[in-house]
Subunit: 315 residues, 2 copies
Amino acid sequence: MTEGQAIARFLRRFPERGAGLVVGPGDDCAVLAPRAGTVLCATTDCVREGVHFGPGFSPEDVGHKALAVNLSDLAAMGAQPRFFLAAVELRPPARAGVVDGLARGMAALAKRHGCLLAGGNFSRGPGLAVTITALGELGEGTALLRSGLSPGDLLAVTGRLGAAALGLARLRAGHAPRSATLAQRRPEPRVAAGLAARGIATAAMDLSDGLLLDLGRMARASGCGATLWRDALPIARGLPARPDGLTLALSGGEDYELLLGVRARDWPRLQRRIAATGTDVAAIGVATARRGLRLAAHRDAVTARPLPATGFSHF
Amino acid sequence: MTEGQAIARFLRRFPERGAGLVVGPGDDCAVLAPRAGTVLCATTDCVREGVHFGPGFSPEDVGHKALAVNLSDLAAMGAQPRFFLAAVELRPPARAGVVDGLARGMAALAKRHGCLLAGGNFSRGPGLAVTITALGELGEGTALLRSGLSPGDLLAVTGRLGAAALGLARLRAGHAPRSATLAQRRPEPRVAAGLAARGIATAAMDLSDGLLLDLGRMARASGCGATLWRDALPIARGLPARPDGLTLALSGGEDYELLLGVRARDWPRLQRRIAATGTDVAAIGVATARRGLRLAAHRDAVTARPLPATGFSHF
């Protein structure tokens, strides 16, 4: 396959037209008409063979995950996904099965979220890699930021924690059934929950590098600390209760769940709105004036022990 | 250096604020407020060690070129650059000199074009690579497209052709003086010329894969053919006259000049407007109803020989 043939093959899986897409793939740039008066959110993230995924990932998984991690960032701002661009690197020779699989995984997720492929780029590289840039609309509203947490705010998290890290451990060990690694291969971006949290939550971010590292970032950005309640943490099913399950849930990474801050009086309303989208959400702790992270046994515990802000760093 | 330290070091070179940048790097997404009523252009392109550059490129060159190839795509649509996101891959350990150089080269070019760093991502990879997504504004106007060429339109090109390919050949041979490889390492996106061509040119694209391949794409997208005039081609200084100089100019690639179509009666006005930006521009041929590309000795030649549409493909 030539570069042109690979591009044509890839594009077959995506709609050529859609609201706001004035010029789609094929020219020097895409031309986009966002809704009048809207503010845009933009994010970019890459997944690379040998770094972000390895054996056990199908091309379809890679296509899904590359888009999912970007939609998760849009979800964390409370934005509605609209457009994305995909820069794809393939190790020559370009194989039809890889191109088709990538496109299928990406197109299925894009369709579910009404997000249009606007453009992209194919080039050769040392392995399979996809860098996506996603654009979402906030309308005239205000984005959910990491820096909005105040002492006394409740901390909440969608879904369950640790399943992606357990899936990664199983993939590395080999011979895992496909269902046991789904959370690692096919994270579901919490777009509906993010939209539901806009105007209620005080702060939000997505959990990509582990709860402790990411909560540490939110707390620092907000100038406060946080105490987590061990018994309230929604640890994924199938994880050993502790200590390993707790460690995976606190530091495992790649859950792509939303971490939210909310004033205590607004928590019941936030919980109802998120539950109405079909997403589980749980209160897991509280923001504190005292800096640093701590772990208490439960909500009413008198003591709490300091936690290290540990998680994933690329270097 | 940790990932966080590398990011902090990189960001020091870029302004934190600017018109339309509501939230810059540091949160899950950037938040952008394009001008009211504007249509946006978006493009993504990557440069990778061993594929798009090799020995002889400084980190500063890589930072410049990664942004330049994207701004060149915006220029080809007639868009005003506004924002960009940069996904950077480094081979561990992350070195301060590489991060600083990348940022310096990118920031200097971004500043000249009023283009703000809005966000990005750092991760490890098998070598240095930068994938940039650039966003530009068209206002309420219409983008310049590849598909607008009509038979009888004159073809024009900015600058000179072949210098980047000659620079690449010199880098590969080793020991070239820095000045002899400048066109390869530091292409200058023709942003002002693209803005000047809006509303006059019938078609535009940037020359990344060589004049023949790119002109072939424009002609096909427009449903026509083209005849080039050999004596009118602005071959870069320092290239042997022919046959090698002509080959480099026709098929060398990476010139990042603009290829334009224009109605013959509008050519003097287009020429004046582009010249007023300080950019050379030359008429190099004419679009034809007959498909395919041909080369004539000069504008008034009676005969023309067929040309292959040859240039660069990644696979």
